[in-house]
Symmetry: C2
Subunit: 190 residues, 2 copies
């Protein structure tokens, strides 16, 4: 999506260790008007797939997932990263390794909010090694529901997450796919 | 707001220890169409106050804050709960005690996203003891910016957070104010 690629080039900052900072518009400060254009693109891509639920993971996926759910006129569910007092005992759960934070954590979704007849679109801001997406697709499958596909804002295509998910038979649509990036040469898209 | 009170009565579940579960529409599964009506009400209440930024805290505030930012046509910023590799060193920070989780944590906002000329509307899903709001107002004040007010979905008015914040001179608008609640007698609103 050209509009997004231009925004990444103009406002993204590449840091050490292949960290792409897009926190001025995507995952710390959110340019909601701009994100709505991305959400509308997810709708265009998946509008004929019978999606009846949007699923994401806290925290930075929530904004774009919420905006996307508006276009589909369906509820959005976000997986939580740890069990709190406010969640009933009856949950679907899987483990996710975070390479950004160097930790492994559990994600959970209440069984009340994923049902066998759900057709789920998974939305997230980033796809790199694919661990979060794998965890989310497991939750959906454990519920007996169907993963219609994944909508990703930025895919680091030089890492293997996208290939792993696509090879598992799940449709993945990424609005920007980064082929390579470096402090010296900037960002190159696929 | 009558619509919200009705929804709390019909879909909220009161658990032990004064926990009100509204995770079917507010903070786990999100009924985005419904939440947009709440967001519009925040806009009605604060539209003449020159708001140029919405601030919330991850995770469950992000959805409603994002929707509210749409109506104001301004960016939304969410405070993060711990320092990650993706945040620059230059941050405003304060400490927040969570009574739900029994922990104290740091919240941070990059100095890039709060400026002295900002007029900030703080949005959150719950107000109970007010610790998150106090932390967020401190961040805004540390930036030399102005807190226009707070927009809260559900205030537990039988706890003292709302009084503390209002007594500090900050306008607080809560769409539902719960006077008392119990498993036996249900919810009573102010």
């Amino acid at each position: 999506m050209k509009l997004l690629e231009q925004r990444i080039v103009s406002d993204g900052i590449i840091g050490a260790g292949n960290v792409l900072k897009v926190d001025s518009f995507l995952n710390h400060q959110m340019d909601v008007e701009f994100l709505n254009k991305l959400a509308e693109e997810f709708y265009r891509l998946y509008k004929d797939c019978g999606v009846n639920k949007i699923l994401t993971i806290e925290a930075s996926g929530i904004g774009i997932a919420c905006l996307t759910a508006q276009f589909f006129k369906v509820p959005m569910v976000f997986a939580k990263k740890s069990k709190t007092k406010n969640i009933a005992g009856d949950v679907y759960t899987s483990k996710v390794e975070s390479f950004t934070h160097g930790t492994v954590y559990d994600i959970i979704v209440s069984k009340n909010f994923l049902n066998p007849d759900d057709k789920v679109l998974i939305i997230d801001d980033f796809l790199a090694k694919g661990q979060a997406l794998l965890g989310l697709t497991k939750l959906v499958k454990d519920a007996g529901a169907e993963v219609v596909g994944c909508g990703i804002v930025i895919e680091k295509a030089f890492q293997d997450g996208g290939e792993i998910i696509r090879n598992s038979g799940v449709r993945v649509e990424s609005l920007a796919r980064i082929k390579s990036m470096s402090v010296e040469d900037g960002v190159e898209f696929c």
